[in-house]
Symmetry: C2
Subunit: 141 residues, 2 copies
DNA sequence: ATAGAACCTGGAGTGCGCTCCAGGTCAAGC
DNA sequence: GCTTGACCTGGAGCGCACTCCAGGTTCTAT
């Protein structure tokens, strides 16, 4: 088993919302919005009702950010978060979600690479146009 | 010079908005919105004021779609379209825009690939969890 | 000639993902 | 004790990229 309850003298590095905002690049408004929306479970509070983020909260947030950066919608992240909160019984479902998301991501990367190549062609075309234009400034054929 | 004005007997393959919608995957509303927004210049009309898209319109639309798919905003596409409508003098500006967009795209593809790798790790982790859970169903260590 | 589908316009409405606001509470330094 | 800045809540507002609507016109097939 693991050892400790969060005793008072536990040096668990709890962060304020401002510190988390700086670390993640999110605003405090977005952090509160994510909590309200159920993307992150209710963050622990001080006696004065102020949030204190623990290491595990940070790790989950960073995972969420990876999902977001790869284009997952808030709705899907809510779904994933709900499954997670339901415990180990939902591991298979969560795995399925991640696999599907991963597959979609692969598709999107492939599409972007194809479009990048097309863009390169267009850029080449523009470079040629520009060369001709600059060469032709004096109208001599 | 090139040869023909669009004479009546010119077999220029003009398409209705519905046909263009089907070809591009855009809705007719989106096509009209893009025209209203200045992303595409005013499409030629029949005497009865209905749009007829020409080959050149299609080509431009497909280019716009590539810009969109690679994440360019409507505002930036408007900017590009405006430059284009101003003629050859803006070739250098347009080239600069495309190069910048291309560079951002490269960054985004790199970030997606990094995130994809992180996702793969997470998936591996979930697969292991699932294996343990299935093996451990009978509680024998 | 006429029915019905496709098209037209200007403008309002929608969904997403935040972002801002008002009005208050809490914590730390002077 | 008091000020000042960080934090709290519920709810309204915003920008983007469409999407829909009402009311009218045009095209096509019979």
């Amino acid at each position: 088993m693991t050892s400790g309850q969060p005793l008072p003298q536990d040096p668990e590095p709890s962060l304020t919302i401002a510190q988390v905002a700086e670390r993640t690049g999110l605003t405090h408004d977005t952090l509160r919005y994510y909590e309200k929306a159920g993307l992150i479970e209710r963050i622990g509070r001080t006696t004065g009702n102020q949030r204190r983020y623990q290491t595990a909260d940070l790790a989950w947030l960073e995972f969420l950010l990876r999902l977001r950066e790869t284009g997952m919608s808030i709705a899907d992240m809510q779904h994933f978060a709900r499954l997670r909160s339901e415990g180990d019984a939902t591991v298979a479902d969560r795995l399925a979600m991640l696999r599907e998301h991963r597959a979609g991501l692969a598709d999107r990367i492939r599409a972007l690479r194809r479009n990048a190549t097309a863009l390169d062609d267009k850029i080449d075309h523009y470079e040629q146009l520009l060369d001709e234009r600059q060469q032709g400034t004096d109208e001599t054929t």
